[in-house]
Symmetry: C2
Amino acid sequence: MKPSRRRFEAGEYLARQAKTRKSMIDQGIDVLVIADPSNICWLTGYDAWSFYVYQCVVISADSELFWFGRGIDAPSAQITTNLPDDDIIAYPDHYVQSAEVHPTEYLAQILKQRQLDTGVIGGEMDNYYQTYRGMHLLIQCLPDASFTDATALVNWQRAIKSPQEIEYMRRAGSVIEEVYKRVLDVAEPGLRKNDLVAEILHASTRGTPDIYGDYAAIQPLLASGPEAAACHLTWDDTPIENNTGMCLELAGVHNRYHCPVSRTLHFGKPSQKYLDIEAVILDAIDMVQEMFRPGTTCGEVATAFTQHIRKHGYEKDNRCGYSIGLSYPPDWGERTMSLRDIDDTVLEEGMCFHFMPGMWFDDWGFEITESMTVTPEGGLMLSQVPRKLFVK
Amino acid sequence: MKPSRRRFEAGEYLARQAKTRKSMIDQGIDVLVIADPSNICWLTGYDAWSFYVYQCVVISADSELFWFGRGIDAPSAQITTNLPDDDIIAYPDHYVQSAEVHPTEYLAQILKQRQLDTGVIGGEMDNYYQTYRGMHLLIQCLPDASFTDATALVNWQRAIKSPQEIEYMRRAGSVIEEVYKRVLDVAEPGLRKNDLVAEILHASTRGTPDIYGDYAAIQPLLASGPEAAACHLTWDDTPIENNTGMCLELAGVHNRYHCPVSRTLHFGKPSQKYLDIEAVILDAIDMVQEMFRPGTTCGEVATAFTQHIRKHGYEKDNRCGYSIGLSYPPDWGERTMSLRDIDDTVLEEGMCFHFMPGMWFDDWGFEITESMTVTPEGGLMLSQVPRKLFVK
């Protein structure tokens, strides 16, 4: 008997698969080849750091569903999924990171054996884990199939969260609360940035006595002083400077579900520009929370935000949020909905977003962000980190 | 003035670019489009967690070299590279994660403007960060160019490390020594696995007073009891069990350079099977260290290893090591050389490998691994973690 690590009732996985199949049928897709680890996990529960080699889940519109991956990762599939052994298919190790052969060539043989090679095959054509060569070879090896781009088909199925998923995201929210408590306890000028991150990672992995912390799909991002103009820097050992602001973009994670929350921490008395922008952003969060109801569109939220900050003399030329949930590196966004004017997706109850009104200027930056879920009463915050400019 | 985070002398970057250009000319490539963040960093120093959106470095065989990425990441390029502002090219934010437009369509316009669209363009066709759609659109937008697969061209330039790179890897080795000290201090039956990982991440990020710890391209992998049959599981909150072994695959990291080291930690008196395999693996490491000289091939090392363990009744049907160095998620391997029988690459001084003789059975596993660099005197270990089965 294998041990087991399963996070949802078998019925929830079956419902997800059924929903995916319905969408496949609507789009005329007979077979989907899913290489995105977030989609693989959402469909089957599979969870291991094995996505650096080729792996996928194949699901057909009728009844087939199998995991395909490297031999040494088959035990992880046995432990983390409900799949029968016949539907855990391993390729030999000489296919790993080879210039001569590719796992998708082996996959093509399996698809032929299972008679899945003659209809319309959907692939994730714009995904980190489906390379050009892998897809190109799959297409070449299956001349009787026709291929279509199904990049975000499964991602879209994930948009509305189940009650159990929301529960995991709220638990992730409890984890990020612990993280910011720790940050406020230990951060001080002179501390090496890596020593602060060590505390962040310690707190985010411990979580609470009841809620463990999982790894985030994005490492802690933090920058202080003039480097805060750059929003995606990680750390080095430079000491935290006094009399300047530090932007922190962090997430709590539980069972692979994320709750990102950013805050700005100012050491010493903040100058007026920090206080001014704080007021504008806090108002923006209240406004967006109010708008986060079924029926509003992503674009309406983004436009209202833009108008609000413009009134106060600010501009932001990048999206102010995106859909979140279950994720693997390199991104905790779901790569479906974005809060930007051109996105006319209608919000529905159970959707979850990171509202990200971060602003970066020539030599400083400011971030207060919230993760929330859409409800008929407006946005429900997934965590309760004190919402303000932190000053120490 | 922008702040600066530069890890190598400007001359080292120029030498790397020259070496890459020579290889391009040898292979008849006029322009390379490099999307792998490890290759981008190695060529230019660029370092930020921005690879979840499309970005690349374009290098021509003669004199062009520019960074191309999202607008909000241009400041990171200014901070971490020596590139002049004219060679930091940003695309507008509506290209981010859009189903309608793709950053490579914008890139195609830039290549045309810079008259880089008529020769042979090499792309990383089998890389996480070069999707099928991105490459397909680039090819479509540049009808006057011909395209060739240059997947690991830059990775291969990275194979032989400079003295400064070896120094960073040895610093990473000091970091992993601290990590295992912490593991031995705190690990005990009953501790939640996430609490152990919290300590691991704390130690690996603090590093030493002089050497900061950077994030690893792979999260801590650990599995105990029957789950140790699966080599790539991450943690949850199950307590560490007594009277069983736990496999730990961890790395120290400094300035993005990795030193992976695995150990097995047994709680309670180990059964004979652990002691038997320990002796075989320790002998294997001595043997491989002795063979790790210029002139030996990867395949010879792998074959000697296989013969050695087979003599003792063991089989391993997966590669026993791979090239390491500078890396970003999802893999700390360089995806060039593997220690396996079919790889006839000749070892050269300064190459660095993770020798990975991990063995996984039906309901247990065993890992003692070492990272080492090739020298005329044999393999030089990059860290000095006590090499044995740990027992607590």
